[in-house]
Amino acid sequence: MLKVIGIGSPFGDDQVGLLLIDELRQSEQLHSYLNSELELLAVDRPGAGLLSLFEGAERVIIIDAVVSGAGLGQLHRWPDSTALESCGCFLLSYGFGLTQALTLGRPLALLPAQLLVFGVEIDPVAAGADLSAMLGHQLPILIDLVIEEILPLLDSF
């Protein structure tokens, strides 16, 4: 089983992880894999609860927002959780975010066998119900990039 987990909050650019999951659900390329080899989850700031979502999945892809100073909409890619530890670009609630959850998961042996993390560069001050216009324009490109990563993983099962 491959789980793709989008993380975010409901407003502004921080919802990009949630919106990408919505878009992946509509993808014809992924349709035949859903409910058997592929599960898509959109979660609102799960904190340490993220670890419980890994249950039953050998492979997990996570998509979350980042603010690193790179260009808006840039897709960052980390092939495992160790590579993330020195990265301070993920967003936090109460000082706890994706990096902290994954760091906690290692000693608890709760991480999946294979983990891939995508970070989407967002505008941290974009407020309101929608994505910022620039990130909105990038969304179709991001969807294609993520699907390109998902398909080989699914076909290798």
Binding site: S9, P10, F11, G12, D14, D44, R45, G47, A48, G49, L51, S52, V67, G88, C89, L91, L92, S93, Y94, G95, F96, G97, Q100, T103, L104, R106, P107, L108, A109, L110, P124, V125, A127
Partner: protein, 335 residues
């Protein structure tokens, strides 16, 4: 700088000759101004707005708001709503205290830099804490629609009643977690905690026949037994110059609220099974409140346990909408 408080804060301690001369807890996040957000809003918007005060304890604010409005309307939503609100509150206590104990307090107590470091030595205990926090989140989601900033509460009840089948599934999950709650109490009671004898006044609500959550009088172990409408006559908030968090005194004295104060004042109302477990664990509650009696303040502690919570929640809570960058800290507001 305090890293693991609910909000941003710093602690200044001045020690001379081994004695603390001055201690200031500075909460320096900006004032939230929720009172101003609420001005001009309809009564039915209030529950959703105040849920944003805190990402960890939103139910407390929702319950206070809807009960106040229902009091104005002289509206009684009935026994089912009352019971479900208690359930919702239990969910919040489970997730909030589960998080506080395992992710915030215990790493500090054991001297670990983080819960991840603590997890290397206490993996089963940390997993148990995450499971208890998780079931709390599920209960809040069950009635609130989502676990972060729930939206199910309204004046008069809930927007949607959960399905009975969903309730049955949740009930089974809760039953499975009882063993974890019991194990946590046994484990905590066996910790080698230093004796802490402090003289403080406990304040909580008190109900005639149940452990208090949403209803009752305001009582203290300094002899107070006040109806809710007497709150403003006895509790006075003031601004301390070193912090953005308002301070509050009861008849001119500082006091403690929260789980320990509630337990100190209401342990006789705990379910029998919990009382037995406390007894088994050697936790002795040495005093019982007699409501409406006026007595001189007693020496503390009442419970021979370390305070389980040092939360400052009234004004230092963060909305989960504030996801932070660190370091340096840059607020990323999401409303």
């Amino acid at each position: 700088m305090l890293a693991r408080v609910e909000g941003e804060g710093a602690l200044e301690i001045e020690v001379r000759d081994g004695k603390i001369e001055e201690l200031k807890l500075r909460i320096f996040e900006p004032p939230r101004l929720f009172e101003k957000f609420l001005e001009g809003r309809s009564y039915d918007e209030v529950a959703d707005i105040v849920a944003r005060i805190c990402g960890i304890c939103p139910v407390a604010y929702q319950m206070s708001a809807v009960h106040a409005i229902e009091q104005v309307f002289e509206c009684d939503p009935g026994p089912w709503v009352r019971e479900m609100r208690r359930l919702l509150y239990c969910g919040e206590w489970l997730e909030s205290y589960g998080l506080h104990v395992h992710l915030l307090a215990l790493p500090d107590y054991f001297g670990f830099s983080s819960v991840a470091e603590m997890a290397s030595k206490f993996p089963d205990e940390v997993k148990r804490g995450l499971a208890l926090q998780g079931i709390g989140n599920e209960i809040v989601r069950f009635l609130g629609g989502r676990s972060v900033h729930p939206v199910g509460v309204r004046v008069g009840g809930f927007y949607k009643a959960p399905a009975a089948a969903e309730a049955a599934v949740l009930l089974e999950k809760v039953r499975q977690q009882l063993k974890h709650a019991e194990a946590l109490l046994r484990w905590s009671a066996a910790l080698d905690l230093p004796a802490s004898r402090q003289n403080f006044v406990s304040v909580s609500t008190r109900h005639t026949d149940e452990y208090p959550m949403n209803e009752g009088h305001i009582v203290s172990d300094a002899g107070h037994d006040l109806s809710i409408d007497k709150f403003e006559a006895h509790f006075k908030e003031h601004q301390a110059p070193h912090t953005t968090a308002l301070h509050c005194h009861l008849d001119g004295r500082p006091y403690l609220v929260g789980p320990l104060a509630r337990l100190n004042l209401n342990h006789d109302l705990l379910p029998d099974a919990v009382k037995s477990l406390l007894h088994e664990c050697g936790i002795v509650m040495s005093w019982m409140l007699t409501v409406a009696s006026c007595r001189p303040p007693l020496s503390r502690p009442l419970a021979k346990i370390r305070p389980a919570s040092k939360r400052i929640c009234t004004t230092s809570c963060w909305p989960m909408g504030l996801r932070m960058m660190m370091p340096p800290c840059v607020c990323v507001p999401r409303w």
